[in-house]
Symmetry: D2
Subunit: 92 residues, 4 copies
């Protein structure tokens, strides 16, 4: 089942600037067979729902393995049965 | 890796009232080995991160199989490496 | 126009534990004419939409005045014209 | 106090496609002195916090006046005291 999504990951206790962690999140997402589009408030994602969820799990596991103490993620997920959802189809 | 989460699922095109679908979401979550607590703005969840993500995938797949045309989910995820995160530990 | 809402405030750069800031958020919300219900993933709110938004502005201004460097808030807002939305009416 | 934000508005009971309502949201935001950038999962906003919250209130009031029965909004808000937050500064 294809889905579109938006992911924002916030590391707590990592200081005021979290740019390094966000760049790492985007790099990790990029290793999965997903279409990704970064923007100022998160990263939009298109791909198989299972693959998106797998990528989110990898992001949490990897950032913790690399030293992150606490992570909060916000994930919006959209699926639909009447047509294949795409990021392109959701743009105005 | 244990996580805490909050899930809110919104069916689009299902009419103004979505109570039936929300009750179905909670029932589906309840089949997984997760601690769940419903509240007015969603369902709080505690359990293995992998299990939570698997439950979310099941919710989308099942609701579509049962007729939902479009689903939007909002999932907050929290993990931490310094202690085991629990819903009890996050209450004030 | 009455609304229901959920607010979660995350201070960045404040360390791994943010309990003190969250307690402050709830205390500040409590000064407004709003019904509030805390839970493990945020605070549910019922009241006039304008009052809710005013409270959110006060929370950001006050926490910054008290030393917070960076704040991220997640606010869910629900309004409806067919009946008065309440937290009680949204519970399962 | 300047803020950056992301707004996503979901009309319930308006059918599966909500493009018309989303275009209306963006048009209404555009009447306020705010920088707005639409993307596939919402609209990023930069401006005075008070103005952003005022715009959100206007969106809900106007869409209801134009016939929307139920509206759910997701608003991310970011403020910081160490520098002026901008959408440009948040892009990777």
């Amino acid at each position: 089942m294809q889905a579109t999504a938006e992911l924002q990951v916030i590391p707590l206790g990592a200081g005021v600037s979290v740019r390094r962690e966000i760049e790492r999140v985007v790099a990790l997402l990029g290793r999965h067979p997903l279409l990704i589009e970064t923007h100022a408030s998160g990263t939009n994602i298109e791909g198989e729902l299972h693959e998106i969820l797998d990528a989110v799990e990898t992001v949490h596991a990897t950032l913790h393995a690399e030293g992150a103490v606490r992570l909060v993620s916000y994930l919006k997920l959209e699926t639909r049965s009447d047509k294949v959802p795409t990021l392109a189809g959701k743009r105005l």
